[in-house]
């Protein structure tokens, strides 16, 4: 993140501006200091403590077991096949949900970009899932929709001979993803609708005169125009969904086994159900490093897109 931010020019060295001595500089910065110190306390101290814990063997259920073990926790993490499964789950859950939500959001945005009777009502209804508390949404999916005996999905599918399917037990990862997609499609839809509505009409008219079919217009003009909106949606969605916890906790508790666990949930399990502070801290550090690498690429992508490379001809 810091790499992409403009460093504020230090007042002492600003060319042309009157020279400001050190004391004056500090006097000007002083009002910002409390916020800075607060931010450091709540973000950096826990992180440094996590780094410290990750170098120790420490199980809460065995008092006095705390000892310094260098990097053996990290070795254990990379040797842990469950950790790898969970990491893969996280990638599938995050990227799969985001990409499907983008595609569905695009379709709905294209629909809402047309004039039809009751458009306002439809738009409000389509946005609603995004406004529901994640825990409530997860509960809704677990009981009202996916319950094997009482769920609406099975009720609707009964005439087609598919009753009694145990959705959450048989397809745990897909079930959690369904709930995530349901919640995140409206976000993508809103973002892409804004993109569609910022499309200059004269370009669309020019395409009509130039003989483009609806599909060619979409592929050749609309999609390139939407590219940066899609990228923004993917990046924001990924940043949020990679940390998702509520749906996993509520719907499957990561199970069966770790079939539907993602990294935040697995770390939570290790720390607060397994009480293995050292190893969960090491996992946290690994996840932070991987996330930083991924986020760096992703942010670079959207800052490039939004620097207005091919804006407004």
């Amino acid at each position: 993140m810091t790499a992409t931010m403009e460093r504020p020019a230090a007042p002492e060295t600003t060319g042309g501006a009157p020279m400001i001595d050190r004391a004056e500089g500090w006097r000007r910065r002083a009002p910002l200091l409390p916020a800075l110190i607060f931010t450091i306390i709540v973000t950096q101290i826990p992180f440094i403590l996590t780094l410290w814990y990750s170098l120790q063997s420490w199980n809460l259920v065995r008092p006095g077991s705390q000892e310094f073990v260098w990097f053996s926790n990290y070795a254990d993490v990379f040797a842990d096949s469950q950790f790898r499964t969970v990491a893969l789950n996280t990638v599938i859950m995050t990227l799969g949900s985001v990409l499907i939500a983008v595609v569905l959001g695009l379709l709905l945005a294209l629909l809402l970009n047309r004039q039809f009777v009751g458009r306002g009502v439809v738009r409000t209804l389509l946005i609603t899932p995004f406004l529901i508390t994640p825990v409530a949404a997860a509960l809704l999916w677990k009981t009202v929709l996916l319950d094997p005996t009482l769920g609406l999905i099975n009720f609707v599918l009964t005439p087609f001979g598919a009753s009694g399917t145990e959705w959450i037990s048989n397809y745990p990862l897909a079930s959690v993803m369904a709930a995530l997609i349901w919640q995140w499609t409206p976000f993508m839809m809103l973002l892409l609708l804004a993109g569609l509505q910022s499309m200059p009409t004269d370009q669309l008219e020019a395409a009509r005169v130039d003989g483009a079919s609806a599909w060619s217009t979409f592929r050749e003009l609309t999609l390139p125009h939407l590219r940066r909106f899609i990228e923004l949606g993917v990046v924001l969605g990924t940043i949020y969904l990679v940390n998702i916890f509520d749906q996993v906790y509520m719907m499957t508790q990561g199970g069966p086994g770790v079939a539907s666990a993602n990294l935040p949930f697995y770390i939570y399990q290790r720390a607060f159900l397994g009480f293995d502070i050292g190893q969960s801290a090491a996992m946290g550090v690994v996840v932070v490093i991987l996330t930083l690498i991924a986020a760096n690429f992703a942010l670079r992508l959207i800052f490039k897109s939004f620097s207005g490379e091919e804006e407004a001809a």
Partner: protein, 363 residues
């Protein structure tokens, strides 16, 4: 190459309201450049968009080369359009922009490239083919938009104020280029502008619109010499014609204490009307010496002098009737300044007389 006919064509945005284009009758002869000109809201752009297929035709019909196109979608009308803001595709290069209409019509890659190259040579865009529109100047973008229209070799060109986003110098230059190119390609062209100078210099014929109605459709000289009503008289010409509401006298009209005789046929056509609108172009005043006999000249007081080098325009108000202002063209160097008295006499052979109520030309 085709003849374009508007036959009682109307566009009604909201039923019951005044039509944006009201029963337009207009024929664009094959190969002609016809300019639609009028103030904002006159319906000129709407008329063009009806021809383009971007607005429905609610009544009447529009024919291209004898074919009624009312129900024909835009892409099948064999037209090409240049938009006011050029409407270039920002994600495509210049070459891709120009090739787009050909690609959409399924033309092969090689032929596309060849046509684009030809058009680019004609427009001086060869060096810019790989650039995106964003990296071009306003004039270059305008030429790309022209290029995208001409590669198609359509039956009709439509241009919607294509020069309005250029600076004054570029506009004069491009104006000449477009007229020259249109002559060379001999493709029927409908050109919309609010600038009467563009209309007069480019059009084979000019259609003046106001309030959705066609006022006059004529060649530029005819429009200038015989405006059909006081609206056209006031719209065409810069500075505008002096339109004065004058009382009748025994043999003509009275202006600033002098009597201006009217030609016989005008007097006859005017009948018993006791007031007439008389139009006098700035160049149809004769400047007299201020010492002239009071009975034969109109005395006025100068408000503003615009010296353009080859000529000058004197904005003045009548000495007798300070609420009446006139514009007089004088020679390039005039000695008068703000507040100076002048004496002028209208050229009696160059008067335009209109009914004071309806604005119609008499006779």
């Amino acid at each position: 190459m085709a003849e374009v006919v508007f036959d009682q064509a109307s566009r009604i945005y909201t039923p019951g309201a005044k039509p944006a284009v009201d029963s337009l009758d207009l024929t664009v002869a094959d190969g002609d450049l016809v300019v639609l000109v009028g103030p904002s809201g006159s319906g000129k752009s709407t008329a063009l968009r009806m021809l383009a297929g971007l607005e429905p035709i609610d009544a009447g019909s529009v024919r291209i080369d004898g074919r009624d196109v009312v129900d024909v979608p835009s892409k099948d009308r064999d037209i090409a359009m240049v938009f006011q803001n050029y409407a270039l595709y920002p994600s495509k290069t210049v070459a891709e922009n120009m090739a787009f209409p050909l690609k959409m019509r399924g033309m092969g890659k090689e032929e596309r490239a060849q046509r684009v190259r030809q058009a680019a040579e004609m427009l001086g865009l060869t060096d810019f083919l790989d650039r995106k529109p964003k990296a071009l100047s306003g004039g270059q973008r305008q030429r790309v938009a022209m290029g995208r229209a001409i590669v198609r070799e359509p039956q009709v060109f439509l241009m919607d104020e294509p020069l309005s986003n250029l600076d004054a110098k570029m506009r004069v230059q491009t104006r000449a280029q477009i007229a020259e190119m249109q002559n060379r390609l001999a493709v029927s062209t409908v050109y919309v502008t609010h600038d009467q100078v563009e209309a007069m210099t480019m059009g084979d014929k000019v259609a003046v619109l106001a309030d959705g109605k066609l006022q006059q459709y004529a060649t530029p000289p005819e429009l200038y010499d015989r405006p059909i009503n006081s609206f056209v008289a006031g719209f065409i010409g810069s500075p505008a014609m002096n339109l004065l509401d004058l009382p009748r006298s025994s043999s003509g009209v009275t202006l600033g204490g002098i009597e201006i005789p009217l030609p016989r046929e005008v007097s006859d056509a005017a009948g018993s009307r006791d007031r007439l609108t008389v139009g006098i172009r700035p160049e149809d005043w004769v400047l007299e010496s201020t010492g002239s006999d009071a009975g034969s000249v109109v005395k006025a007081v100068v408000d503003v002098v615009e010296e353009l080098g080859s000529e000058s325009y004197l904005y003045a108000h009548l000495a007798e009737d300070t609420s009446t202002s006139i514009v007089v063209r004088g020679p390039g160097r005039v000695q008068v300044r703000f507040g100076d008295p002048i004496a002028v006499r209208p050229n009696p052979d160059a008067l335009h007389v209109f009914d004071a109520e309806t604005g119609q030309r008499l006779p």
